[in-house]
């Protein structure tokens, strides 16, 4: 009978929503893995390699979270999301955390019900142009056609930049990164604008990378950080302190290679960090070896940076703002104590 089926459906929906009320950490533990939203097509940050394995700085950040929660960096499920899909996917609990080059902004934290943790990459927006265009500065782009990804802060920064300098421009907005790149390299646009790190990645996949150059102007601040939902403080703490642990490990000189030797260290900070002196992990609701597992399986922030985007990779990005504060950069972990 139809009405009966309807009643059953209603009841099961009610039951399901009641179950979904538990905290993110409990959900994650029950599932046995962390659902992480990543870019999926951004070289150096989140993109499959030739063997189909996800690689990148954001991917390693996600693995560090899994290592902290499960003691196993492989317990991650990656969901590739476009710029437009990413925030709704997090809001609707499709994913537990978003590690996808997302800029922390005021409106996202207030209007969208999200919380950003410690940034894993400090970026800024720039312009990539063909050398044949013969310009040396972004101030010469009056009247240009500019390729841009939709639904990003990029779109607004570019609009602000051109407005502030009294210049005209027309955007070509294509959702798919690969299609946008194709259009740019075929000459549809005079310039491509995005975060500097992305432009470096885009240039490295150009038919002739030497034919393109980055203009010197950096027109915005882009603190790219992992994101969680508002209202789950425990989960926020776990993701935030995982980022802190990555930075702290580099500061303390602990690497994936020497972490076992470091267990014997007499330095109280290191002992606390690695769980030799117990307590820190418990406060987060995790094992006391949480930080040990992160460093052992994923490495410290410096290792992640060098492996994915550093000077020895095709991206060849210098540490710059992303160096430790002790080296003049911005990477600064609050004390783990």
């Amino acid at each position: 009978m139809k009405p009966l089926k309807m009643v059953v459906a209603c009841i099961s929906i009610l039951a399901m929503s009641a179950m979904a009320m538990a905290g993110t950490l409990d959900d994650v533990k029950a599932k046995g893995y962390v659902d992480v939203g990543i870019n999926g097509s951004l070289f150096g940050f989140g993109m499959p390699d030739e063997k189909g394995e996800m690689k990148g700085l954001d991917v390693d950040t996600a693995k560090a979270i899994a290592a902290a929660v499960f003691g196993d960096a492989s317990k991650v499920k990656f969901t590739a999301l476009t710029a437009v899909q990413r925030l709704p996917a997090l809001q609707s609990k499709e994913i537990d955390v978003l590690c996808r080059n997302t800029t922390q902004t005021l409106s996202r934290e207030t209007q969208s019900g999200l919380n950003f943790v410690q940034p894993n990459y400090y970026d800024g927006q720039g312009f990539l142009v063909p050398k044949a265009l013969g310009i040396k500065s972004a101030k010469e782009l009056d009247g240009a056609t500019v390729c841009v990804l939709p639904g990003t802060t990029t779109e607004m920064n570019a609009a602000d930049f051109f407005r502030a300098n009294g210049m005209k421009w027309s955007p070509v907005v294509i959702e798919n990164t690969a299609e946008l790149n194709k259009a740019f390299f075929a000459g549809r646009c005079d310039a491509l604008t995005s975060d500097m790190s992305q432009l470096a990645g885009n240039r490295s996949v150009a038919p002739n990378p030497e034919d393109y150059m980055l203009l010197p102007e950096v027109i915005s601040k882009e603190p790219l950080a992992p994101v969680v939902r508002h209202g789950d403080d425990q989960w926020f703490d776990i993701v935030n302190w995982t980022m802190m642990a990555l930075i702290e490990a580099e500061e303390l000189g602990i690497t994936s290679q020497n972490v076992d030797d470091m267990l014997k260290s007499e330095n109280p900070g290191i002992k606390r960090f690695l769980g030799v002196t117990p307590g820190m992990g418990q406060m987060l609701g995790l094992d006391n070896e949480w930080a040990y597992n992160i460093v052992k399986q994923v490495g410290n922030y410096g290792e992640i940076f060098e492996r994915n985007v550093g000077p020895d990779t095709p991206l060849g990005i210098p540490r710059g703002l992303n160096a430790l504060w002790t080296d003049g950069g911005q990477m600064y972990a609050s004390p783990i104590r």
Partner: protein
């Protein structure tokens, strides 16, 4: 004798009629409850996650640029205006698309029934190939073809005076603005109204007196002649706004973007294959006997088509045609894949910048609902009008 007198009284729960009503009420209540639950649940959850709701954001500054617009728009305008620009862009590509689609579809559909073997087969190949390639792939293909095939603006092709082809689009010379053009538009409208009045009068006269009167030439004379007269009276302004290469791109004239062309081309080619099939089916649905009967009473060939075949074929053609027009409008939302700033594209950017996805998606749905329902209403009205009056 009424049946109730002979039958014993049935309790209401065994009366199929009353039971059916009861189930309807229960179903309505269930659906209502479910809807209320979903809406309430959404609102509560949004509140809990402190996601902002409401349409207040529409008045805030949009702060993003839009590539092409039918009205003046800049980044300092509101979200509401940005969304309106998107609506106009969707209407522009849908309207032109539907017109082209009807013309090409009619042509191919008739060609499909041609007695010429080559014409027939070519039409068949067109229909089969275009119907069966997903429209999204066609869009990528036309877009890539456009920017790969044409040179950069500095080496733009110039096949004729005032027309430039390059990978930034098609730059076209248009008459420079002059007060005459607005008056010419008014004259055109007056001409059209007079022309249709004439057509009615001729039809009426034919039914009452049986005498014929030519319609086509006076109609063309009125609708084209009047604007021409206005133009001559204004001293025949000839000033043209010719596109010129300035800086990065052409300035002046009108510029049609590759995104617009690729979208239009993809939608028209894809949908016209379906329209062609509808046209073919409609014509074939009219039995051969109708033509023979019309011939036997001595009607002229054009009268057979106009008075006998088409009125019957249209009955069959219009409903599938309506759904193809709706499909074209809805498929235009694929524009986001190739960068044409249609409504969905602008709404997506808005959603992303304000984070108000529920409001944004609701607006997208409402907008397409309005487009589709108004197309349906118009086509149903036309369907009723062209339906055979059966006695």
């Amino acid at each position: 004798m009424t049946p109730s007198e002979s039958e014993p009284k049935v309790p209401f729960w065994l009366d199929p009629g009353k039971r059916a009503i009861g189930f309807q009420i229960i179903t309505c209540l269930m659906v209502g409850l479910l809807a209320w639950y979903l809406v309430n649940n959404t609102l509560v959850n949004m509140e809990k996650q402190s996601i902002a709701s409401g349409f207040g954001f529409l008045e805030r500054e949009a702060a993003f640029e839009i590539g092409e617009s039918l009205i003046a728009y800049s980044a300092s305008d509101s979200y509401a205006k940005a969304l309106f620009v998107g609506v106009l862009n969707t209407l522009k590509v849908s309207f032109i698309g539907i017109i082209l689609c009807l013309i090409i579809g009619l042509f191919i559909g008739v060609a499909r029934l041609s007695t010429n073997w080559l014409v027939k087969k070519l039409a068949m190949i067109y229909i089969e190939v275009m119907q069966n390639i997903p429209v999204l792939l066609q869009l990528f293909f036309w877009y890539a073809l456009f920017y790969e095939m044409f040179p950069s603006p500095r080496q733009a092709l110039n096949p004729m005076a005032g027309l430039f082809l390059c990978n930034r689009g098609v730059a076209l010379a248009v008459p420079a603005s002059h007060p005459a053009y607005f008056q010419m538009f008014i004259a055109l409208m007056i001409g059209l109204v007079l022309g249709f009045g004439l057509k009615r009068w001729v039809k009426k006269r034919k039914f009452t007196t049986g005498r014929d009167f030519p319609v086509l030439w006076p109609f063309l004379g009125l609708s084209l002649g009047l604007p021409l007269l206005v133009w001559v009276l204004h001293g025949a302004p000839m000033q043209m706004d010719v596109p010129e290469l300035k800086g990065f791109n052409f300035q002046g004239g009108i510029m049609l973007s590759p995104e617009f062309f690729a979208l239009l081309l993809g939608l028209v080619i894809y949908t016209s294959a379906f329209v062609a099939e509808a046209v073919r089916a409609g014509i074939q649905a009219v039995s051969r006997g109708q033509t023979e009967a019309a011939m036997s009473i001595g009607l002229k060939k054009k009268h057979i088509l106009n008075l006998v075949i088409l009125p019957q074929a249209l009955r069959v053609i219009i409903p599938p045609l309506t759904s193809q027009m709706l499909n074209l409008t809805k498929n235009s939302s694929l524009a986001i894949a190739i960068g044409y700033p249609d409504f969905v594209s602008v709404a997506n950017t808005t959603i992303n910048q304000t984070g108000q996805s529920i409001e944004g998606v609701a607006m997208i749905m409402a907008c397409y609902l309005v487009f589709s329902v108004s197309t349906s209403i118009f086509m149903n009205w036309y369907n009723k009008k062209s339906k055979l009056v059966e006695r």
